[in-house]
């Protein structure tokens, strides 16, 4: 499978000139199966709007797998063009106890004061809701997903994603590293056997001092985790909306010094990684 990045920014889109290398669109990743029958996305930040502009006509099935419902992870659903075509089937996955609950989380986007569409049922496409729990496995187009509970608010999921060749990565876009906690140990276990970890790194070490406890991680805490889990390849994601390309480059330089044994990558829009 191939992993493509449509958006890597955290919190709110940051469409500024000095942030264009890593990109200013909020988080959306695409998974391309070796024999793709459908389009698969991880999270639905504004990157999803851009992804939706170039869909081949023969694709009718879409899978949108969500980590949680904070605005920066769902705001790309509203302008996603495939929703407007009756031929399409769109499957949405996210943490919830029922289909109705999952739909309700998203329907807030459509309250009539927020959007002219008024309800998510407005769409011409057929929409299916797949509520997920913790440690749940499912398969889409031959790609295996396993959910991981993360440390970010009450109900944020990470995913271990395994491709057709058995290579895998862990996706933890919103997570705070708190060594020793149950969720920390759980994430270590899931990460040990994977080929790459894509993890939140919203803050550099200086800024984290005043922002710990908000559900996001810093460079040093992520590297600490990566070392303990024996991660060889680490992708940073969810950059602070104020961080310029220069700021991200600085963090990557620091990572080389702090953890030379780990290949640390700054994920950026347009990047593709094969598994």
């Amino acid at each position: 499978m191939q992993l493509k990045f449509w958006g890597t920014r955290g919190d709110i889109p940051a469409p500024e000139r000095d942030k264009i290398k890593y990109g200013g669109n909020t988080i959306c990743l695409e998974l391309v199966a070796d024999k793709p029958k459908s389009k698969i996305y991880l999270d639905a930040g504004i990157g999803l709007m851009l992804a939706g502009r170039s869909i081949p006509a023969e694709i009718n099935d879409f899978h949108i797998v969500l980590s949680h419902y904070h605005w920066d992870h769902i705001q790309g659903i509203l302008p996603f063009v495939p929703f407007f075509l009756p031929k399409n089937n769109i499957h949405i996955y996210g943490y919830a106890h029922s289909e109705i609950e999952l739909k309700d989380y998203l329907n807030t986007l459509y309250l009539y004061v927020f959007s002219p569409l008024r309800t998510i049922d407005f769409y011409a496409a057929k929409v299916y809701y797949h509520p997920l729990g913790i440690n749940q496995d499912f398969v889409i187009d031959g790609i295996q997903f396993s959910t991981i509970q993360l440390d970010h608010g009450d109900f944020t999921l990470g995913y271990k994603v395994t491709g057709e060749k058995g290579l895998s990565f862990v996706y933890a876009s919103d997570n705070e590293i708190r060594p020793g906690s149950r969720l920390y140990r759980n994430l270590i276990e899931k990460s040990k056997s994977s080929n790459m970890v894509i993890h939140n790194c919203k803050f550099n070490d200086a800024d984290y001092k005043t922002h710990s406890g908000q559900g996001h991680s810093s460079l040093s805490t992520v590297l600490h985790f990566a070392k303990e889990a024996g991660v060889k390849r680490l992708g940073l994601i969810h950059y602070h909306p104020n961080y310029t390309d220069n700021d991200v480059d600085k963090m990557l330089e620091q990572a080389k010094t702090l953890a030379p044994e780990i290949q640390t990558i700054g994920t950026r829009e347009g990047m593709q990684i094969n598994f």
Binding site: R9, D11, I12, P13, A14, P15, E16, R17, K19, I20, G23, G24, N25, I46, M49, L50, Y69, H70, W71, Q75, L78, P79, Y105, T108, L109, L111, Y112, V113, F114, S115, P116, G153, D154, Q214, G215, P241, N242, E269
Partner: protein
Amino acid sequence: MINNLVFWGVRGSFPISSRDMLVYGGNTSCLSLQLDEDTVLVFDAGSGFKNLGENIVKTYKNKPPEIHVLVSHFMWDHIMGIPFFKPLDMPGAKIFFYSAKRDDHFSLKEIFTVQHSRDYFHVDFVELAAHLVFYSVQCYQPFKIKNALITPVVLNHADITYGYIVEFQGKKIAYICDTAPFHTSFLGTLPNPKYSEKKYMNYIGNRLVELMKGASIVYVDAHFNETEYKDKHHWGHSTPEYMIKLCNLCGVTNLFLGHHAPEHNDEFVDKMIADAKKINQNPGLRIFGAKENMTIKIVNENTTHA
């Protein structure tokens, strides 16, 4: 002092980060107008509102100014910057929000609560440090903020959308966003089903023309070009051509075309602006494409510098 009008976001509908959209910018609706040294007037709170907030914190350090925010309507691109507005975390900050009086339960305070609920954001409404005041305002009823007189006007967009006309230091500045031309109502809806669409459109259009008379700076929704507008006349957005006509009826001197569609790259918007200038027959009306971070100095003579 110099009273600057600053464009923090002029993109319409959705923020977008793209290499070919950096000239006009990707942040959504937010303009600010310095009323006096301690008072900032703001038009809308789209993603550009975040950058305005950073700027306020930088400029005023620990002594926040009074911030008055006029909200046109509640669609996402006009309110999405609110949770990221730094002055909300400043103890001692006073922030006043103004929006249309509504018959339903959706006050702006309600919107705040939804935006800041745990399901969707990591900070709860009650944790905010600033002192917040929410005002409901009524169309065509002027009110004062310091030395400025503000008149809300009804626009043709969403369920209830207001534009704002500000009279300040002998000048008139109008923020007319979002609106479709006053021909076909938004998605065919009317505030009262008994209204005749034609009469209602005429009425709100005429009121706007009357109130905008003699404005020196007007910022408008010019989302579509004429070709796109043909199929989308009920979508709530205008064209440069329509806005030029409207502004010429009012004797406007400086027109800023904004709310650029997220599908339009810089080259496309450049062409729309160039075409708009060609269409305009009136040398008394100067036309500009609104760009992010553009600052307009409002000076006392009857001139402006973009």
